[in-house]
C-alpha cells in the first residue's frame, strides 16, 4: 500500500511538471525511480523506455509497465491515473479559460518564454537516454544513423527504431 501511495505521488508530480511533454520529465523520472526509491536499475529503466518506443501511441505509456513491474495490475492502474489524469484536468480547465485570455499580452509572453525551457528539458531527456544507451561504437553508430536519416527525410520513426534494435542484435 505504501508503495502504491509513493507511486501515485511520484507520477502525479511528474505529470504536473511535464512542461515540454514526456521527454522533458525523463531525467526526473529516472532519478526518482532509480536513485531516490531504488525501484528499478538503470538498465531496467532503459529497457522499459525502449518498450514504449515499440508500442503505438505516446511513448510515455511505458510508465504503465513501470507501475506493473513494481506493484502488479494495481500499480499499473495507479501510475496510469497519476501520470495522465492531472494533466487532463489542467488542460480541460485551461482550454475553457484560454479564449478569455485572447487579449492578455502575457499570454504570448508565457508561450514564448516557456518554449526554450521546454526545449532545454527535452535536451536533458535526450541526454539521459543517451547516457544509458550509448555505451559503445555500435550504439553510437545506430543513434547517428537514425539522426541523420530523420534530418535527411521523413521516415516512419517507429520503423527506424525497430531497425535500430535489430541492427544491434546483429552487430554485437
Amino acid at each position: 500500500m505504501t508503495r502504491l501511495i509513493h507511486l501515485f505521488l511520484v507520477f502525479s508530480l511528474l505529470s504536473v511538471l511535464a512542461v515540454g511533454g514526456g521527454t522533458a520529465v525523463l531525467p526526473e523520472m529516472q532519478h526518482m525511480t532509480v536513485h531516490t526509491f531504488h525501484w528499478l536499475t538503470d538498465a531496467q529503466f532503459r529497457n522499459i523506455y525502449s518498450l514504449g518506443q515499440v508500442a503505438p501511441g505516446p511513448n510515455m505509456l511505458m510508465v504503465l509497465v513501470i507501475g506493473y513491474q513494481l506493484a502488479g495490475w494495481a500499480g499499473m492502474v495507479v501510475v496510469g491515473i497519476a501520470f495522465f489524469l492531472p494533466d487532463c484536468i489542467i488542460t480541460l480547465f485551461v482550454n475553457r479559460w484560454w479564449v478569455h485570455l485572447g487579449g492578455w499580452p502575457w499570454r504570448t509572453s508565457i508561450q514564448r518564454g516557456l518554449a526554450p525551457v521546454a526545449i532545454g528539458l527535452m535536451t536533458s531527456g535526450t541526454y539521459a537516454i543517451a547516457r544509458l544507451s550509448i555505451i559503445n561504437v555500435q550504439t553510437l553508430g545506430i543513434a547517428l544513423v537514425v539522426f541523420g536519416i530523420l534530418l535527411w527525410r521523413h521516415v516512419n520513426p517507429g520503423v527506424l527504431v525497430l531497425l535500430g534494435g535489430a541492427a544491434y542484435v546483429l552487430l554485437s
Binding site: 526526473e28 508500442a55 501511441g57 508561450q111 526554450p116 532545454g120 537516454i129 536519416i149 542484435v169
Partner: protein, 182 residues
C-alpha cells in the same frame, strides 16, 4: 496508431484534412495550448479537440481513444519482457532501440526547437535549463520555478524586440505549419 510519437501529425491529417472538424487556425490554437501546458502533447490535443467538439464527454472519449490501443500493446510487451528479460538477444534488441531512440529524440528536439536554437536569448535559456537538470542535478520543480519566470520575463509584453511581434504575423503561422507535415 502513431508509432514513434508522430501522433500530432496524424491528428492534424485526420481532424483537419479528412473529417473537417476544425480548420487549421483552430488546430494551431489547440497546439499552442498543448505545447505550453504540462503533459504529453498528444494527450493535451485529444482533450482540447474532444472538449471543443463535444464537451467533457468528448474529451474523455478522445483521451481513452488516444491511450487505449497503445496501453494494451505496451502491457503485452511489458509482460513478455518480464518473462524474457534475461534473454541476451532481448537485452541487445532493447539496447539498440534505446540507441535509435536517442537519434530520434535528437532530431525531434532539434526540429521542435528550430526557431529557439537560432536565437541568442533562447539558446542561453536552453543551455541553463540543460546544465541545471543534467549536470547540476537541480530538481525539476526548482528549474521550472527558477528558469521559467525569468524566461517569461525576457519575453514580457511591450519589450521592443522584433521577435515578440513575430507571433502575430501570418508567415509565422505558415512556418509552424511546416512542422506538422513531418
Amino acid at each position: 496508431m502513431s508509432f514513434g510519437g508522430g501522433a500530432v501529425a496524424y491528428l492534424r491529417e485526420y481532424l483537419v484534412r479528412e473529417e473537417g472538424w476544425l480548420d487549421d487556425e483552430g488546430f494551431l490554437g489547440a497546439m499552442e495550448i498543448s505545447e505550453t501546458l504540462p503533459g504529453l502533447n498528444a494527450v493535451n490535443m485529444a482533450i482540447i479537440m474532444g472538449d471543443n467538439l463535444r464537451g467533457i464527454a468528448g474529451a474523455a472519449v478522445s483521451v481513452v481513444g488516444m491511450l487505449l490501443p497503445g496501453s494494451v500493446v505496451v502491457m503485452v510487451l511489458g509482460i513478455l519482457y518480464q518473462s524474457n528479460h534475461s534473454n541476451p538477444d532481448v537485452k541487445r534488441f532493447l539496447l539498440g532501440i534505446a540507441a535509435a531512440a536517442v537519434g530520434l529524440l535528437s532530431a525531434v528536439t532539434l526540429q521542435i526547437g528550430r526557431r529557439q536554437f537560432r536565437q541568442l536569448p533562447d539558446i542561453a535559456i536552453i543551455a541553463v535549463t540543460f546544465l541545471a537538470v543534467s549536470f547540476l542535478k537541480v530538481p525539476l520543480f526548482a528549474v521550472l520555478l527558477g528558469v521559467g519566470p525569468i524566461s517569461v520575463w525576457l519575453y514580457r509584453p511591450h519589450v521592443s524586440e522584433p521577435r515578440a511581434q513575430d507571433e502575430h504575423l501570418p508567415f509565422h503561422r505558415g512556418a509552424r505549419h511546416h512542422l506538422f507535415r513531418h
